[in-house]
Symmetry: D2
Subunit: 284 residues, 4 copies
């Protein structure tokens, strides 16, 4: 089984950065497996992802922070260390539409998604049987006009109890409160069924159909306070024609949504995504 | 050389339509080469394109209207007949950006576009040499804040004089007046450098870059009074990543624009486009 | 619920064909919903698909053949009539890989595939639990070097017993005998994990990886006697790069295989595919 | 104007490599603009591209080799240094088809291709006028059954005289001799009008049409002794249907060929391509 560490770094771009990081890793006998970096020349920003084999690495991961701190301070780094042996804990929120849920659960079972799924939360009972088949605990928390706040408190309690790292909204048809999204910065992934920023908001396929577009799209993004405006993680499109009725758009769209959401989830789990300026860099 | 007639028909959907049209053509000994039709079940609309060989067709095209009129009246058809031997006359409007112009002129020369190009109109001198190389008359009509109306009158005079059938805006950086667009309904084709309705208006690549989209697009459409809102004819996208700077978007976008515009122009010339409900049906 | 008839026709191209068919349908008060046709000018071949509403159609489907026979004879038609109320019966063959099976069963359950699935046949036990979840009978027929003939006899017996119309090989890892394929002409659909004719035969992803291709593909096709040479129904590709290891190709390929196979299955069920000259025409 | 150096490195993968390179550059005060690396874990190979600003770099490029040699020797590097101020010199070979030539010359003129084009070589006169328009010297060297060897000697003489760095075969319809290709290892780029390895050899569109494929492709690759088998640089595809006749494939294919060839040429010029195991790594 893989035993690697992945370091994500953001900081102001400056000379000596790569040398500093590479020297640090080499001095502790790291065997680098992958390294990718990006410099934004306009914003003078440096972003890096580096993954190394922990076999032979002479620094205990518990000591990493202390050892890395001087370098991080010198360059003003924001950094995060992820270990392949520490699987992130993902919660899935779903309503009635099940295609994204089916897709995520199958990918998880088949080993594509290196995470644990301690729970599925839904405002409907419909998907319990599916959750049971994959042996994932399913919690039904109804959400109504009046009980939204209470429902979110219930959700939080479960998320806390299960030490959830991040949330995937697999066509969850409720808008989360600003308070909720603020608690999970860059840790809620949503799928929107349009090529954002086209067709923000409700019923994007209907509006795409009326507009007579020649391609339909889907966008996975981190959720922020502003609806459908968080940083895009992945987007894709598929061609349609006048031969496609609205139902055909919806059906073709489902295939897009599944793929576009699952890519984002995999990249998030594998620590491949860095954020800046309301954008993502994906080191794929 | 090809000698065919193409009939475009729109009318309310009703029983007996196809039989009526097919019988009419068969009774005049037409050899049908292509036929395509579309029914919009919601709007109860019937759209058809049929192309036949004129060899053996026993109706003189001059007599077609009179002969077809009773059928057209019976079904309430809006129809248009195009002859392959009658090449449409296209005017190109261009400013300084030349990539779409280069592309159209090359495609025309190589036989991809079955039209005549009696003139190129530009608000700048820059592209005269290119026009000369392809032996297309080039007219420089400067457009300023103050002379817009006068400039359009000059343009109209030239378009009338050369009996222009339709206009292609090959990255023409001036907004046409409502009066102008009204004179050429469904006969002005524009290329917009975004996947409409995302990034309407100015500087779409800049805004796409800032938004952090993962795909950039281009849209060719008929020009209507409302800016960037006319019916889309063709759209396409290309993938970008964080490794692409703004200039890379612009460069990749040029390849999209050329292809997306030229497809629209070819379909228009070949009478493949029908309009309804601010959408296009393309019988490709 | 939809109540329509779909007629597929192939015959030598000749004048009066469309008129003949349209007159026939109109004379029986058919309300045509979709019609699509194709003429191969080189082979002088005419292909048509026409679908009409059976509400108001004055011909009992039992009488259709007798009524249509004179016209069919006059033009030398090969034709087939399908009724939306008569769901085709599909058998799925599968081995251990389950991604295509999972995908087909989900699409069936969600209403995308208008067919019945009386049975799944497998040479392994692995997928029984999945079949149970979707309540589809699962039959385990082991195939070994020595018992192939006997196994196929068992399979035939089940296919006959369940009056199976067509078979889908959802990554079934056994080559069917020529005798078997001959029993189901144009009625066995396979998914091959390459862009055929590149990488025919075994281990296409391994060979694509070694060859250093920039795109990987998948092909769904009808099975004929010659391995991987039957008429292609659908193909698609996805981009890869040097950052993709062999396992990444296999993982990305799974998404392709699912989509490319399911499109073929849906088109087959909806009577959208016509064959000629070892090719398919798909009236999508 | 840009004043940068780009270093391409291949060597066995080993610890300390990145640190060694980064330290070297930092010690000479390099401001790194882009860095990309790839490790092939199976072949234990390390590949890197690093580009830095020469402003502030304290090593004269004439001294680079001497200064870098110890590090290169220690790690067994194969390396190459390219300077943005030293534009590579490209020769274009062309026959009668002009679409790729038109495209390359336009891209060159518009600043997309940072190279010089000292000459165009052709076995036909047809494209002289076009070369004249772009003011590129055009040399007509007829190639016949009997004079091939003599013709290649003439070509060599011109290539030597003009100190050509690399050759682009822009639909050049002659097979180069093994002796010729051996003289320009990894320095001849060809465009093949299929998705290789499908449809190797002559008339790929004809064979794709007969095979009934659903996508057509194009492949740009380095030329080696074995026809159509050199390492692929770029590939792309476009969708076709039964509505596309052979001429439509050829026309759609032209758009593919232009884009796929020009990307390869740009990447080659910008030192973005590394080779190993008959594959390319493109640091785009």
């Amino acid at each position: 089984m893989k035993n690697t560490a992945t370091l994500l770094i953001s900081c102001p771009d400056q000379k000596g950065l790569v040398a500093g990081i590479a020297d640090f890793l080499y001095s502790h006998n790291a065997n680098i497996l992958h390294a990718d970096q990006h410099q934004d020349s306009e914003l003078k920003l440096f972003l890096m992802r580096v993954e190394w084999d922990l076999g032979g690495f002479d620094l205990d991961t518990a000591d990493f922070e202390r050892a890395f701190a001087p370098l991080a301070a010198r360059f003003g780094m924001v950094w995060h260390l992820a270990l392949s042996t520490r699987r992130p804990r993902m919660a899935i929120f779903v309503s009635k539409y099940d295609h994204c849920l089916v897709d995520l659960l199958y990918r998880h079972q088949s080993g594509e998604l290196h995470c644990d799924i301690p729970l599925i939360l839904s405002n409907h009972e419909d998907n319990r049987k599916l959750a049971d088949f994959y042996a994932i605990p399913f919690h039904h928390i109804p959400v109504t006009q009046g009980n939204k706040e209470a429902a979110e408190r219930q959700q939080w309690a479960l998320l806390d109890e299960h030490r959830i790292d991040f949330i995937v909204l697999a066509r969850y048809m409720q808008v989360l409160s600003a308070e909720f999204t603020a608690r999970f910065p860059q840790r809620i992934i949503n799928i929107h069924h349009s090529f954002l920023p086209a067709f923000l908001g409700a019923k994007p396929y209907h509006r795409a159909f009326e507009r007579g577009v020649k391609l339909i799209g889907a966008t996975s993004h981190y959720v922020t306070e502003t609806l459908d405006d968080g940083p895009s993680i992945e987007q894709d499109v598929t061609r349609i024609s006048h031969r496609d009725a609205l139902e055909d758009l919806i059906q073709k769209g489902r295939d897009l949504e599944k793929v576009v959401l699952s890519r984002a989830v995999r990249w998030h789990i594998d620590s491949r995504i860095l954020l800046y300026a309301n954008k993502t860099v994906v080191f794929d």
